[in-house]
Amino acid sequence: MTDSIGSASQAGAASATHRSSTLSEAPVLSIRGVSRTFVGQERDVVALDNVDLDVQKGEFISLVGPSGCGKTTLLRVIDGLDAADTGTIELEGKRLTGVSQDMAYVFQDINLLPWRSVRGNVELGLEARGVEKAERQRIATECLEMVGLKDVMNVPPYTLSGGMQQRVGVARALAVKPKVLLMDEPFGQLDNFTREALQAEVASLWEQLGITIVFVTHDVDESIFLSDRIVVMHRNPGRIIEILDVNLPRPRTQAEFRGEHETIELRSKITALLRSQEGGL
């Protein structure tokens, strides 16, 4: 397995990318030397320490690690919601300043606005982009159809179950036709059954739309099921330990993938990596 301990001194392209076979395209997302420290009252927390990462176009890549390993921080820095102390983010070669309009974020807390209807929530990003009402509604309806929620378009979001609410969150993100979809532990608050159903839905949406997805999770199985590559991170300081390829054929099903040899190997490898780093707080 190729190694990729993020470090600015190492040759960027060779260490950070793993598709040794298909390096014809430039990465859609290029993260270089990103560091972020949270200054606290008693001590400073190094959430990210010189992280390098390349994301290929159209791939599904997961960031996996224990809580506090900086994966959410990294995702927010990528989107521009938080600023990094050092380092750069490049989207399709262009350096990013501030919040990117070509990427969309799906929140762990879902964060639907209760004073808007479901469709009103999905239209949010389009409103900000100045899309006209009729067109907005059309796109929003389309996106809601994609996640199977066309029937509840006009209800207030708090009447929906958690799983349905997060689907709306996904629809909201897809409505702005992002180049990269950033998902921050989107199913963390849901029960197992809903989570598995939504995992399958995200996988199928991904294959349908050909979109690039960066997915943060602490659930190792989830990352194996969904991803092309898994970025294993650890905390204190937050950094990438290793990046692993997932060589499971697609489409994958919940029932089958668990029994696969590759899955079992990956899972033990990742767990071993995470455990070997334990001891730091």
């Binding site: 919601l81 929140f107 964060n111 606005l113 004073w115 949010l124 990003g125 409103e127 982009r129 708090y158």
Partner: protein, 303 residues
């Protein structure tokens, strides 16, 4: 079941006109027979509590009537005499005129205070520098007891309607500023993130995220402002020569017309109650999400 109707509303800032809805109880789920059982229990209980309420009211009225019959009419009057007085005052136009006059100054004062108060609260909530600069002024203004301002009103604006409206405005204004600002400060970080993440401009964020998120606080502030401004309305009538309900209360007091006095006070009460109910109805119809997502309810994302 009765405890549900007196549960504190969000935010719990001393609200009159609290919920009267008993039917909000989520008694769902379970077998049909189980549900029927639950319903009859809650029905019985609410029948009980309503009966208790009415009996209590009747008991008080009865005691009043009995006591009043023994004392000179000047002191207590009686329910019956007060009702007769009420009828007379309505018929000869005194009460309707007074109510109209008072409500007019109240409406003008409170609408202006709402508009300017919410505006200033919003501006302070969004521009940190202004918040810091104006905070001492707001604290000072809010802490000043309104009664102390009455002589000042007279000096500056004389007697009459203008003075009264300004007086009511000042009372309501500080409440609205303070409450709006409080709401602005605690807008959920998740909501703010949504605004930023989806590319809204600062302006758009203010009107489409911050202001709607502050609505519960604006309602709470409105309830307090309404209560205080109603007092101001009476005071203005009494002290600023404005007439209206305050004015006739003074007159009846001076001439020991206790039955007229009680009739007027009762009318003022009923008026205040009606206004609070109207506010509550507005919140529960046009802003249902406030109640639906208040802390502790199912469906609320409490983080």
């Amino acid at each position: 079941m009765t405890t549900l109707s007196s549960a504190p509303q969000t935010p719990s800032v001393g609200s009159l006109g609290s919920s009267t809805g008993n039917g909000q109880a989520g008694s769902g789920g379970g077998a049909a027979s189980g549900r029927a059982k639950l319903k009859s229990v809650s029905e019985t209980k609410s029948w009980h509590s309503r009966a208790t309420r009415y009996i209590a009211i009747l008991a008080v009225l009865g005691a009043w009537q009995a006591t009043g019959a023994f004392l000179a009419p000047v002191f207590l009057s009686t329910p019956t005499r007060s009702i007769v007085a009420f009828y007379d005052l309505m018929v000869n136009g005194t009460l309707p005129k007074a109510v109209g006059s008072s409500l007019l100054i109240l409406a003008m004062g409170i609408v202006c205070s709402g508009f300017f108060g919410i505006t200033l609260g919003t501006i302070m909530g969004r521009i940190q520098f202004l918040e810091r600069a104006l905070d001492p002024l707001v604290t000072f203004g809010n802490a000043t007891p309104s009664i102390a301002l009455l002589p000042l009103m007279e000096v500056w604006f004389g007697q009459g309607k203008l003075s009264a409206v300004i007086f009511i405005f000042i009372i309501g204004f500080w409440q609205m500023v303070v409450n709006t600002l409080a709401g602005m400060r605690v807008v959920r970080i998740g909501y703010r993130d949504v605004g930023v993440a989806f590319g809204m401009s600062k302006w758009e964020q203010t009107f489409r995220i911050y202001l709607p998120a502050t609505q519960p606080f604006i309602f709470a502030g409105s309830r307090i402002a309404l209560a205080q401004c109603t007092v101001g309305m009476i005071l203005a009538g009494q002290e600023l020569g404005q007439g209206g309900l305050g004015g006739i209360v003074n007159t009846y007091g001076t001439y020991f017309q206790t039955d007229n006095l009680i009739a007027t006070i009762g009318t003022t009460c009923a008026l205040a109650l009606a206004m609070f109910t109207a506010l509550r109805v507005l919140q529960d119809t046009k802003f249902r999400w406030i109640r639906a997502t208040s802390a502790g309810r199912r469906g609320a994302n409490s983080k």
